[in-house]
């Protein structure tokens, strides 16, 4: 079992907090994505898990082993954690061949020659690199290098694999292929994986659960679908997917259903049962339909062709900017009516 447990983990750099009070649990075998804008603390969290940084407060356990505890000052150095790490820059050792790069972890663990050969070959085979064993890293393409890095971290059978924006240096087409490689790898090994990215599409495509981070805190930790459909606060609503957050007035509760006045229109809203009060709604393109009779009068401010459909940025009479999708083409300046259908509401101070 290699659950990862964090309890009130914090980290300050020279007095500035980079992580604050992170308490969460990554289950064994889960594919977790840490998603957030740059500077949100996601990489710091990953490096703390790996042992490259030590937390200023809180403690971390992986499986039964305590990795770091700020109280007692215990901090296992990275080399003793048995964790795999995939770097954004791949960090292949340029003076070693592909084969040696991959076999090096086994060499350190003092495996026998034949065992090293067997496991290295297996790792190279599982990443489709058999033909490249004798090449030097400089002779490989970006995607191949990333696969070597992956093979290198899987060869030592780590209890968790941490990935630090591993696709950031690859082009768009290769990124899609590599996403497949990572997902397959995860399915086959069943390893716990923690994946840092700032690209939400990447996180959505691969992760079982996504922790959205901002300003050193986890804002919401849920499945991709929940994150998108039921954001907890304004940050998550605006960061994940395309959405506009607008305030609501005159919320009325009738049985299980809530009604609210949004931008002057009376609309039924959804919200979490536990939420006693709601103050804002998230309006995504799916919540908006364009119709002549729509109660929300607005004007097209910008049209972007998205391939097969258009994204309209519209400005309502009261000044809110809303995004709507349509198959028909509209011109900038055109007047249209919008209808809002069951948006997600939450409370935000």
């Amino acid at each position: 079992m290699a659950d990862i447990d964090l309890s009130s983990v914090g980290k300050t750099f020279a007095g500035t907090p980079a992580l604050q009070d992170i308490t969460t649990r990554f289950d064994d075998g889960e594919f977790i994505a840490l998603l957030g804008p740059s500077g949100c603390g996601k990489t710091t969290l990953l490096r703390i898990l790996a042992g490259f940084e030590t937390p200023t407060s809180g403690q971390i356990r992986i499986g039964a082993r305590e990795m770091a505890n700020a109280q007692t000052g215990v901090s296992l150095p990275p080399e003793e954690r048995n964790i795999g790490f995939v770097f954004q820059s791949y960090a292949l050792w340029p003076h070693m061949s592909v084969w040696r790069n991959v076999s090096y972890p086994l060499e350190i663990r003092r495996f026998s020659k034949s065992e090293i050969a067997r496991q290295t070959d297996a790792a190279l085979a599982s990443t489709g690199l058999e033909a490249y064993a004798d090449r030097m890293p400089s002779d490989l393409s970006g995607g191949q290098r990333q696969r070597v890095a992956l093979a290198r971290c899987l060869v030592s059978d780590p209890c968790a694999v941490l990935l630090d924006e591993p696709l950031a240096n690859l082009d768009v087409a290769l990124r899609a292929t590599m996403q497949g490689v990572f997902t397959d790898f995860h399915k086959r090994t069943g390893a716990t994986m923690v994946y840092v990215t700032h690209d939400q599409a990447e996180a959505m495509a691969m992760a079982d659960r996504i922790a959205v981070m901002d300003q050193g805190r986890i804002q919401q930790f849920d499945t991709p679908q929940t994150l998108y459909e039921r954001p907890k606060n304004r940050f998550v609503a605006e960061f994940v997917g395309r959405g506009t957050v607008v305030p609501v007035q005159e919320v009325t509760q009738a049985g299980g259903a809530r009604q609210a006045r949004i931008l002057g229109a009376e609309v039924a809203v959804q919200s979490a049962r536990a939420e006693k009060q709601v103050s804002h709604v998230c309006l995504r393109p799916e919540n908006l339909t364009i119709s002549e009779s729509g109660d929300l009068r607005s004007k097209v401010a910008r049209v972007t062709y998205m391939g097969g459909k258009y994204l309209l940025e519209t400005v309502t009479d009261c000044g809110a900017r809303l995004f709507a999708e349509t198959r028909a083409r509209f011109d900038v300046g055109a007047q249209l009516g919008l209808t809002i259908t069951t948006p997600w509401a939450f409370s935000e101070d």
Binding site: A50, G51, F52, E53, T54, T56, A68, G73, S75, L76, P77, P78, E79, E80, R81, N82, I83, G84, F85, F87, Q88, S89, Y90, A91, L92, W93, P94, H95, Y104, P105, I108, R109, A149, R152, C153, S156
Partner: protein, 568 residues
């Protein structure tokens, strides 16, 4: 407060290793300087400034100080004019064969000053073999024009022009291309771009180069010794040498004060250079990928001819002088087909026991210093890059001191430190070990800086990747850090070897019979009138220097940026 070990990775073995190596390095480089300072401000163990006052009041001190300032100051001016002209032309225009030009301009810096002085005296004056052979020698009895303050100034200028050239060229190369292009788009033409855009941006590096050239010229011993002593014109370093050579260690306290005086002037220069360099780092952002190449147009060929003519005059001509002198049977004889002889070469290379001893000494010292410095600097530079503790940062800012300070200062400091080893009656003074330790201190920065430059470009993820797969500190050093910084270490080792092999200033004060170095032997041969043998030996050394430099040049593509000093 977090402890150091907690800040980074939590690996305590790294912190321990860093402290251990750091202590060794500090003892090696900074302890002598500190010891010298203590000597100057104490008298028989008590704080006192009387000695300092007495020495500074002596007329010989004042005149030597004046001579030092005059020769170093005007010498720097000569370097400035020559070096800056070359740097602007090479860095900004479309001259051809730039690489060859740069390489040739670096040779004066690498040729030891006593050889520069020797070679130039061979092409001037009434007894110059070359001039006699060509029939244009001044009449016998005419003075040697180089035995004069002007001669010292001129040769100091030539010797150190490379420093100005290098720093200014590096500064010019860091000017983003688009800054100049923006000026041209705005309508600035030719000299106007140069004057209003390029010049202001390079002033800091020019000032920094000037300051460090002044410090180097101030500490130069070979040139004022070879040219000034015959003319009875003493600078501070030669005064220290003469006092110590004449009266031995009884005047140690007195020469310490002199050394501190040179040191103080030098430190002022170093501080000025630091200040200018920190200015340089400010505003320059933008692409520097493409070097500037302003077209010279029709002027290109004449300019090229002029530059190569200067290179010929300062590099090749003196070598011809040396060669001519080394090939005649006796100094002053005209070189003809029937007088050519290799006797001097044979004598100095194979017969003289003192030269073979000096070869062995210099080789051993240089190779040993390179090897030991590699062992210290590689792990130290890496650990200092990984964990920037306060002590490490302080050391980083001070480690250039033993190299930047004049060699005389370091030598005196070494004598003070090692003449009586603490807690014992033993002394290292008079043994080869004092020279060896002085070399370690002096060339520490020569080794450390290239290694540091290469490790700064080293992706820390390389090390972290090894760490995450379970490699211990020792394994990481052995399998990842050492192999990857090996090219830089090799370049640093060759540079240390090159400088130590030729070194004169430090060993001139520290040698004794049996521990002569090559620099000392050339100096002594010339001093005792054996100019032919001195020339033959000097030619050999120049040859070794150029071969070693060519070796670095050959492999320069495989070195990381900033490792080869003349390719910054």
């Amino acid at each position: 407060m977090m402890s150091v070990a907690q800040q980074n990775g939590g690996s305590r073995s790294e912190a321990r290793l860093l402290s251990a190596i750091l202590i060794v390095a500090i003892c090696l480089t900074l302890a002598p300087v500190l010891r010298l300072f203590v000597e100057g401000v104490t008298d028989q163990g008590r704080p006192s400034l009387t000695l300092m006052r007495d020495v500074l009041a002596q007329p010989s001190t004042l005149s030597a100080l004046k001579h030092s300032l005059v020769t170093a100051g005007f010498g720097t001016l000569v370097s400035l004019v020559l070096g800056a002209a070359f740097a602007f032309l090479v860095a900004l225009t479309d001259l051809r064969a730039k690489a060859a030009l740069v390489f040739c301009l670096m040779i004066p810096m690498m040729i030891p000053p006593q050889i520069t002085a020797l070679s130039w005296t061979q092409i001037m004056g009434p007894s110059s073999v070359l001039l006699k052979t060509l029939g244009i020698a001044p009449p016998l009895g005419a003075p040697q024009p180089l035995y004069s303050p002007q001669g010292i100034i001129f040769l100091l200028g030539i010797q150190h022009m490379s420093i100005i050239f290098l720093t200014l060229r590096a500064g010019l190369r860091s000017i983003p291309q688009d800054v100049v292009e923006a000026a041209r788009i705005s309508g600035a033409k030719g000299l106007r771009t140069w004057w209003q855009v390029v010049m202001p941006l390079t002033l800091p590096s020019l000032a920094a180069g000037t300051a460090i050239t002044f410090v180097t010229a101030l500490g130069n011993f070979g040139i004022p010794a070879m040219l000034g002593i015959p003319a009875d014109y003493a600078t501070l370093p030669t005064l220290v040498y003469q006092k110590l050579a004449g009266m031995g260690t009884t005047v140690l306290a007195e020469v310490s004060v002199l050394a501190m005086l040179i040191g103080a002037v030098a430190v002022a220069g170093i501080l000025l250079q630091r200040l200018c360099q920190s200015r340089q780092r400010l505003h320059l952002v933008g692409s520097t990928s493409r070097p500037l190449a302003l077209p010279l147009g029709a002027a290109r060929l004449p300019v090229e001819i002029l530059l190569w003519a200067v290179v010929f005059a300062i590099l090749v001509l003196p070598m011809f002088g040396l060669l001519a002198t080394s090939l005649v049977p006796a100094y002053g004889v005209t070189l003809r087909f029937d007088t050519v002889t290799l006797a001097s070469w044979y004598e100095v290379l194979f017969r003289q026991p003192v030269t073979s001893r000096a070869f062995a000494n210099s080789f051993g010292l240089a190779a040993g210093a390179s090897a030991v410095l590699v062992m210290i600097c590689l792990p130290l530079a890496w650990l200092m890059e990984r964990r920037k503790t306060r002590l490490a940062r302080l050391f980083d800012s001070l480690l250039d001191l033993p190299y930047a300070l004049p060699g005389v200062v370091l030598s005196i400091a070494m004598i003070l430190l090692l003449i009586k080893l603490p807690f014992t009656e033993a002394t290292l003074y008079g043994t080869i070990w004092i020279i060896f330790l002085a070399y370690l201190a002096r060339f520490f920065a020569v080794m450390f800086r290239p290694v540091q430059a290469s490790l700064k470009q080293f992706d820390p993820a390389m090390d972290e990747a090894a760490q995450s797969v379970g490699a211990s500190l020792y394994r990481r050093l052995r399998d990842v850090i050492f192999p990857l910084s090996a090219p830089a270490a090799a370049a640093g080792a060759i540079l240390v070897f090159l400088t130590a092999f030729n070194e004169l200033t430090v060993s001139a004060l520290l040698w004794s019979s049996g521990t002569e170095t090559l620099g000392v032997v050339i100096f002594n041969l010339d001093d005792s009138g054996e100019t032919g043998m001195a020339s033959a030996l000097a030619m050999t050394i120049v040859f070794v220097v150029i071969v070693l430099m060519a070796l670095i040049q050959l492999f320069s593509r495989r070195f990381p940026k900033g490792v080869v000093p003349w390719q910054t």
